[in-house]
Amino acid sequence: MGKRLLLVAAFSCHLAVVVAGAAELTTRLDGPVGRGLRFYDALSGAGDSYSFFAPSVGPQFQARFTLSTPQGARSEETLETGKSREVGLRLGNLTGEIYIVARRDDLRRAFLGALAANRLGAHPEANLVQVNVEEWVMPTMAEHRLGARPCWRSLYEASFVRTSYEATFVRTSMSRP
């Protein structure tokens, strides 16, 4: 009976964390209790929130690269170029995460530089890369009926040149939506 009581208590506590997580309460808790709950959430998934595409559909992001060679040739590509849909979706999430992180001045250069270094590594012939983090702007149905069409809007732009071993930051510009 004692063991059963303990198991029922454990199940009940677990489900209570599931409900609290779904209600986005666990993320608001600070201190050791909050940290402990978030750790248990990470292990068990009990404290996750499930607001998929809710309450509204968020924007889509992409990282677009313009690569230039010393001979003056230019090419464009995105992180998703040539990837499967599943990988493309994950890369889009990654760009969205970088967009959020890049709002911090101290981290922007490191994360955009990582993207630039990745592309320069894939294109040894290029010596300059311009990184554009863009947001998909989708008109509403009413706007679409009136002729508006979706487009990519630039949020961050930075250029990097190749030195012997690494991408060196040249300049950056930002446009707030």
């Binding site: 599931v18 292990l43 998929f52 992409q62 990837k83 990654l94 990745n118 509403t140 679409h144």
Partner: protein, 309 residues
């Protein structure tokens, strides 16, 4: 007297024996889906998770919970053995695939479930910037496969290793997973209902038009806004209704079909095939596979097994 006995009766009710088949179905299906997914993204795994991937480990460390071990932590532990980081990643991913396969086949299910869950957790921790909802759900249900006795049926173990009397689990195990799945649907539905976009069709319009999800050119939907509006309402009804109408026997099959239809639509019009497959698997294994004990097993069954072996 009866009032005094009520708590004991309630606790005993949580340990009523039910068939292990729903849990076994999940144990076979989820690892197989994760294996297919692993093969699907295998050529890009090092870009997403490797030390020299799109985001190097020095930077992924800033995005993840420092208390939860990611692939870099595990790979670093192998460095003193002379194993380089890329080799360590390949080794860990191979262990992950092996764990998933062993779990699906039912070989040493507790050990293989630990391996599959632990390495899946490490993967989603180190790749936290690129994960999405389905990774959370896979982590959750791998955790249940680890904690609950999922290896009591549909395994390749010898008959003596899994006697007939063990083909049951306490109903509490099944109810915890079922309740969790209901919370997932209810929360998803209620959060959607709080936004205007799901009531006026704009959410459906936005989703099927985003390049990441677009599978067909549905620009003509703008001229027929009632279609996305109706689709939004149906999504709300199916997701919110799931938590209540999946339980009664009279509505269960209808709601399983409705949920499958919803995910078929998500797979077809948004291209989220892996997510949809996992959601259909969860509903089918937890609510469609009968939990009633088969007659011949019921005759042998006398004492229910403990919840956590």
């Amino acid at each position: 007297m009866r009032l005094r006995e009520a708590p004991a009766l309630a606790i005993d009710a949580c340990f009523r024996a039910v068939s292990v088949r729903p849990l076994a179905g999940l144990r076979v299906g989820l690892p197989l889906l994760l294996l297919v997914h692993l093969a699907w993204v295998s050529s890009d795994l090092l870009s997403l998770h490797g030390g020299n991937g799109i985001i190097p480990w020095e930077l992924t460390g800033l995005l993840r919970d420092p208390w939860v071990p990611g692939l870099p932590t595990l790979a670093s532990a192998l460095l003193p053995l002379g194993i380089s980081a890329p080799t360590a990643i390949t080794f860990l991913l191979s262990c992950y695939a092996g764990g998933l396969l062993a779990l699906a086949l039912g070989f040493h299910t507790r050990v293989s479930a630990f391996l599959a869950w632990g390495l899946h957790l490490a993967l989603i921790t180190s790749g936290s910037a690129s994960v999405y909802g389905v990774d959370q759900l896979a982590n959750t249900f791998l955790f249940y496969l680890l904690v609950f006795p999922s290896g009591r049926a549909w395994t390749f173990q010898s008959r003596s290793a899994s006697p007939r009397r063990e083909k049951t689990i306490p109903v509490g195990c099944l109810r915890v997973m079922q309740a969790h799945l209901c919370v997932v649907y209810l929360a998803a539905g209620l959060f959607k209902a709080m936004g205007r976009q799901w009531w006026n069709g704009e959410a459906i319009w936005q989703v099927v038009s985003q390049p990441a999800f677009r599978t067909f050119d549905l620009g003509s939907l703008a001229r027929h806004p009632w279609i996305p509006t109706l689709a939004g309402w149906v999504t709300l009804v199916v997701e919110i209704g799931y938590a209540f109408l999946i339980w009664p026997r009279r509505t269960r099959r209808a709601w399983v079909l409705a949920a499958m239809g919803l995910h078929l639509g998500v797979g077809l019009f948004m291209g989220l095939v892996f997510f949809s497959s996992v959601m259909v698997l969860l509903t089918c294994s937890l609510f469609l596979i009968p939990e009633e004990i088969q007659k011949e097993v019921q005759e042998v069954e006398t004492v229910p097994e403990p919840a956590v072996a």
